[in-house]
């Protein structure tokens, strides 16, 4: 579905991504874990077309999207749920959701929007209850649901999520991640960027570990979870303490 080869990008003179090569197969949940500043968000922003790729190749559905503007990439079926939700606070929940349907209108599929709205309300009943409420008044978890719902309205083949668990309570994180799993069950492909490596690896099929802009590890989620370096650096386990107990 998505194939990235030797991708490099950055801001100004700062090179953030260094020859990143990775892929996501259709129907997979793939996670990218890494510390703050490793380049996770830059990677998603580059794939989305929000920052330009300096070199390398991004193939989405076998099509080179490296030079396309963000709206074209969304139109092709690759949507981003950005870090920090980026909602339109003074607009209602329903308005925010409908904004996500813009590509469907451009595809002349406006007739499907009503059914799609029902589908996301099915996934997030809470949003239906609050459809007239202003987005800015929602709780953190509800806002995250809204951001995901908005992205789903474009009917993406690949949905990329940037830190969906950020700032949320553990119970809410569980809800959000079970929704991610459900999306995969319904045929979506998910690229999940997370600092919460444990939760992300818990639902992912595979993962990549990004460190200072380089991929230093690749493997099944199971293998990464049992890798001691990953455990120490990203899962917050103090193995020595555990062993001496």
């Amino acid at each position: 579905m998505l194939r990235i080869k030797n991708l490099e990008s950055g801001y100004g003179r700062l090179k953030v991504l260094k020859k990143v090569t990775m892929h996501i197969g259709a129907g997979e949940i793939v996670t990218i874990i890494g510390a703050n500043g490793a380049g996770k968000t830059s990677l998603l922003r580059t794939v989305s077309g929000l920052i330009p790729a300096r070199s390398g190749e991004i193939l989405f559905d076998m099509r080179d999207v490296g030079k396309l503007p963000p709206e074209k990439i969304v139109f092709l079926g690759c949507s981003l749920v950005p870090e920090g939700r980026q909602l339109f606070a003074p607009m209602t929940v329903k308005e925010n959701i409908l904004l996500g349907a813009y590509p469907q209108y451009r595809r002349k599929r406006g007739d499907q929007v009503r059914a799609d709205l029902e589908r996301v309300y099915g996934l997030f009943p809470r949003l239906r209850e609050r459809e007239r409420q202003l987005a800015g008044t929602l709780s953190g978890g509800e806002q995250q649901m809204l951001a995901i719902a908005r992205a789903l309205m474009a009917r993406p083949k690949l949905i990329m999520m940037d830190e969906p668990s950020m700032g949320l309570a553990p119970l809410i994180i569980k809800d959000i991640f079970s929704i991610v799993k459900r999306l995969r069950g319904e045929g979506s492909t998910v690229l999940l960027v997370e600092q919460n490596a444990k939760a992300a690896l818990g639902i992912a099929d595979r993962g990549y570990v990004l460190e200072t802009g380089r991929i230093i590890m690749e493997g099944t989620a199971e293998d990464l979870l049992s890798n001691r370096e990953v455990q120490r650096a990203y899962l917050g386990r103090d193995l020595d303490a555990e062993e001496s107990m």
């Binding site: 020859k19 090569t21 892929h23 460190e211 991929i215 230093i216 690749e218 493997g219």
Partner: protein
């Protein structure tokens, strides 16, 4: 029958994407964690970031057995020792020991790759697998053992030695698959004959052989003598142990597990890649090893990559059976010859079977080679007369077909030392 069909039959383009991802992450890791590689890359002015294509690997330096020895014991490990759950050492047929380590994930990966080899050779969870490899520092025993358990077969860790007892176990425990060196399989076949046991009293179906070069003639002999399908498998401790590649039941070359190893074939003299399909030295880079990654390891094993697809459906490149080792390549009075070529000839004349050893001396600046052939394993009547005749035939054909002048001597059964489980093929006494 596949063990991991999605990986063994991966589309070529997807495979190469995966290889590049894994090559780059392996390079990033060795550069960060193994001073030996970092120094070597730095001194050549190469950064892992320059590797953007699989073919760029040619810019990286080779790693040799001497490098491994020089870093004895743990210098090439890429993880702290507390993450290592197993330590092995190479069998040392050619010199001092090389130490290798495995993390928990490495052991899991290794077991899966051996399971692929066993499955390709016919083994299923319903089989009883007798493993006649040493269970020590040598990777053969434990490597095959874990793979066979992974498949779910009933595993008999018979180890090596006491052939009569091995055969008793084989008979009583109803062994269906034999795992050993090919020469040990020959020994078992001969002992079965001597013990007067009929092969039909055994339950053997498959034989999976490796850890030493053998010939097509020897395969025929083993298959006929034991009534089995015999497949070849390959591996070496420095990159994993058994499980690097293995034959399927088509028996037309060994499928390389390319999702875990990147292979090249180079000319051992110039170190440049050989033209596609030509024989040369196999060079292996590991793509998934955690504890002991290897970059461009010169295996010293001579093989060639086979061009066409295998009817079995696996997409990994195949290599021909290993025909010899670069450091086995003998120059006898200026003529290059491999022990395997001598072996093929002996087997052709004697119909497979006999063990042999090549002894080389230098007398007054002239190389003198003697080929010792174990004669008693040649079942025959009128042994003495035949001995002279056989030795003469071998001598003449070696001169005629390989262009080497050697002395041929027939020696008694089991006089060639097999203390390592495999006989030393070449004793080179020359002081060069």
């Amino acid at each position: 029958m596949y063990w991991e069909p999605d990986k063994e039959c991966l589309d070529r383009e997807e495979l190469e994407q995966l290889q590049l991802e894994r090559l780059q992450s392996t390079l990033n890791r060795v550069y960060a964690h193994v001073p030996f590689y970092r120094k070597k890359f730095d001194s050549l002015g190469i950064s892992p970031e320059e590797i953007g294509a699989l073919s760029d690997i040619a810019r990286l330096p080779f790693t040799t057995k001497d490098d491994v020895r020089a870093n004895y014991p743990y210098g090439l490990f890429a993880v702290p020792l507390r993450e290592v759950v197993r330590i092995h050492a190479s069998s040392g047929t050619t010199g001092t020991v090389a130490v290798v380590g495995y993390t928990r994930n490495d052991i899991k990966m290794w077991s899966n790759l051996v399971a692929r080899v066993l499955t390709a050779g016919g083994v299923t969870k319903d089989d009883v697998v007798q493993i006649c490899f040493g269970y020590g520092l040598f990777t053969g025993g434990f490597g095959l053992h874990y793979g066979a358990e992974r498949v779910g077969a009933s595993v008999i860790p018979a180890s090596i030695g006491n052939t009569a007892r091995q055969i008793q176990i084989m008979k009583d425990f109803k062994t269906t698959a034999l795992v050993s060196t090919p020469s040990y399989a020959m020994r078992i076949a001969n002992t079965i004959r001597e013990m007067g046991i009929s092969v039909s009293a055994l339950s053997l179906k498959y034989g999976l052989f490796g850890a030493e070069p053998w010939s097509e003639g020897m395969r025929q002999e083993i298959q006929d003598a034991l009534g089995i399908v015999a497949t070849d498998n390959y591996g070496l401790s420095e990159v994993l142990g058994p499980g690097v590649s293995g034959e399927c039941r088509e028996r037309n070359g060994l499928h390389i597990h390319e999702d875990h190893f990147l292979v090249e074939v180079v000319d051992p003299e110039t170190l440049r890649p050989v033209p596609a399909g030509q024989r040369g030295e196999l060079v292996i880079t590991t793509l998934t090893k955690e504890a002991f990654p290897m970059i461009r390891y010169r295996t010293r094993d001579l093989t060639r990559l086979l061009p066409d697809a295998c009817p079995c459906g696996r997409t990994g490149k195949r290599m021909s059976r290993v025909v010899g080792r670069t450091d086995d390549m003998l120059k006898i009075r200026g003529v290059n010859v491999f022990p395997s070529q001598i072996e093929s000839l002996i087997h052709e004349i004697e119909g497979g079977g006999p063990q042999y050893q090549i002894v080389i001396d230098r007398k007054e600046a002239l190389d003198e080679a003697t080929v010792l052939v174990e004669a008693d394993e040649v079942a025959g009547y009128d042994r003495e007369r035949r001995k002279g005749g056989t030795a003469d035939t071998i001598r003449k054909r070696l001169a005629h077909e390989l262009g080497i002048t050697v002395d041929v001597k027939l020696v008694g059964k089991n006089t060639i030392d097999r203390s390592e489980g495999k006989p030393r093929r070449v004793i080179d006494n020359r002081k060069l």
